[in-house]
Symmetry: C2
Subunit: 330 residues, 2 copies
């Protein structure tokens, strides 16, 4: 592996001059610059990022933490972040936390050791206090997931509004018996509480009481959705509509419902969340809440680079529009 010294030797100049050329510093004559460039090419020279980082340079790398990349919502989010970063000359390091606290911390350590200039977290596993302690090593930005106070720059969606829109839509369609399905819990304080609030608000406004039997928590996958549908089928008193926390769960519900001979939306209206590709693939096509993934990525990078450039930037929270997409499942 060729080093800067090799280039220096071959071009008959000093390491310093070579370094100047590499980094586009001034005070290098055109002539010597050419010599250096030629030597670099001849040797197939590539600067060693480890040495650069060790030397304390910016890494032009941003870390992104997602729970799991196989979740289409996150793979699209990562993609949009990466695209935006690339345009600005930044690389992206993708890391899956698998919803594991320790893995999350392990990744945050990259910030400490200057492997990345900043970290974008699309989900939070540890307590914020734990994560906060890493802020001194570099900016941490929250995209998608968020905490309550504005303790870090956040790119967020009004999840509460999203759930409200979904619930309201079902009510407007004449439903009174509405089930609810979340990836989190139905606690006052747990994961997914904002969506819970929004949903509750919609029902409350219409003076509809929530039936606890129709609340399903910790549901994530297509398989989970099928399971939920099976449970519903066994009930004496069944809901006529269901609001879910993800398009995938909604998909599972629809598939299983059809399998069991139910008609969607006549026998059961279904609302998803995310507007993933699957929403248009399902038959009937899924009514869902659209999360503006591309904008989220774009904005995250914009804010992150801004902070990197100007560390004194005020910490702000940005809210992106979330909207209801009505299709055939309601």
């Amino acid at each position: 592996m060729a080093t800067i010294l090799d280039v220096a030797r071959l071009s008959g100049l000093s390491k310093t001059t070579v370094s100047r050329v590499i980094n586009n510093h001034p005070y290098v004559s055109e002539e010597k610059k050419k010599q250096v460039l030629k030597a670099m090419k001849e040797l197939g020279y590539t600067p060693n990022p480890s040495a650069r980082r060790l030397r304390g340079q910016l890494t032009t790398t941003i870390g992104v933490i997602v729970p799991r990349i196989v979740n289409p919502f996150f793979s699209h989010l990562v993609n949009s972040i990466e695209q935006a970063a690339y345009k600005k000359g930044y690389q992206v390091l993708i890391f899956q936390s698998y919803e594991d606290k320790e893995k999350e911390i392990a990744f945050l350590n990259l910030l400490k050791t200057k492997q990345v200039d900043g970290v974008i977290m699309t989900s939070i596993e540890n307590d914020w206090k734990m994560i906060e302690s890493y802020k001194e090593y570099g900016p941490i930005l929250l995209c998608n997931d968020y905490v309550n106070q504005t303790v870090a720059p956040m790119i967020r969606l009004d999840q509460s509004k999203g759930a409200y829109l979904g619930g309201k839509h079902l009510i407007d369609k004449g439903h009174q018996k509405i089930a609810y399905c979340t990836g989190g819990l139905f606690d006052e304080e747990g994961k997914g509480k904002d969506r819970n609030h929004g949903f509750q608000k919609a029902l409350h406004e219409a003076r509809i009481k929530i039936n606890p039997k129709w609340i399903f928590v910790d549901q994530h996958t297509i398989a989970d959705g099928k399971q939920v549908m099976k449970q519903i089928l066994e009930m004496d008193d069944r809901p006529t509509a269901i609001f879910t926390g993800s398009d995938e769960v909604a998909g599972g519900i629809i598939i299983e419902a059809k399998e069991q001979g139910l008609a969607i939306p006549q026998d059961l209206a279904v609302v998803g969340f995310d507007d993933q590709p699957i929403a248009e693939i399902l038959d009937p096509k899924l009514t869902t809440i659209r999360q503006p993934v591309d904008q989220m990525g774009e904005k995250s990078i914009q804010v992150m680079l801004n902070i990197l450039d100007n560390p004194e930037t005020e910490i702000k929270s940005y809210e992106l529009p979330i909207e209801l997409i009505v299709r055939q499942s309601t």
Copy 2:
């Protein structure tokens, strides 16, 4: 950021001793070991990977190149690779080439500069000759995509057989007018040629002539599939079945066909490729060729670590089983 020197000072010992503790070397008394561990914890010390890499250590990091992570096939493949790597204490660096030659090379440079111990390529954009020149810096393993000679360890599937199975299945179902849809070209030598061969073989055996009008090249997405279906509908002489290069394209075809009032499989039988989650979501469920993603990841890591451990290992190619999954779309 605390360094090894800080730990040494706090524990009243030398850098060497601290290093020994970090790396679990022998010849450290229990007592001093405890002191060191205590100091490390107190300072929140994390070794700096850049310094380690610069020093020429193994990085316990493996790079994976995929064309695009939003493609579910690749996100699942990456996932399985990462899972397998994690079990062995390795990290995975994910990189998207976006089917761009330069980006691919940029990533291969990480090998040169010892950022990763080895690279797993799930797709190849540049000529093999170009890529081969990076082999001197570390092992390059081909997983999924492959070249013709055994010039590198390869984990591959018999794509030709897969396409043959798909074509044969349609023929067995009584079809004579079979269309073909590929993500590559229909050349003798281009991308996707193995599948082309397999498909051609199946038809050839049944003495069916291929109708060039029914060949669609460079098709990748759901939108592409819809487009293909539209083209078919405009034909006077329509195929009664279609074999596609991906479940997504197949999905687009099915969605559009239903939209236009065609019945699947009565009016058009459809075979996909990959057996992605979407295959079971589609209605009717998709008959497709299953690629054993989990096994591919597992095997790739196994072979990679083996080579890392023992660089003289013979270069071999491993073939994993590919199979036809019959569902409702045929």
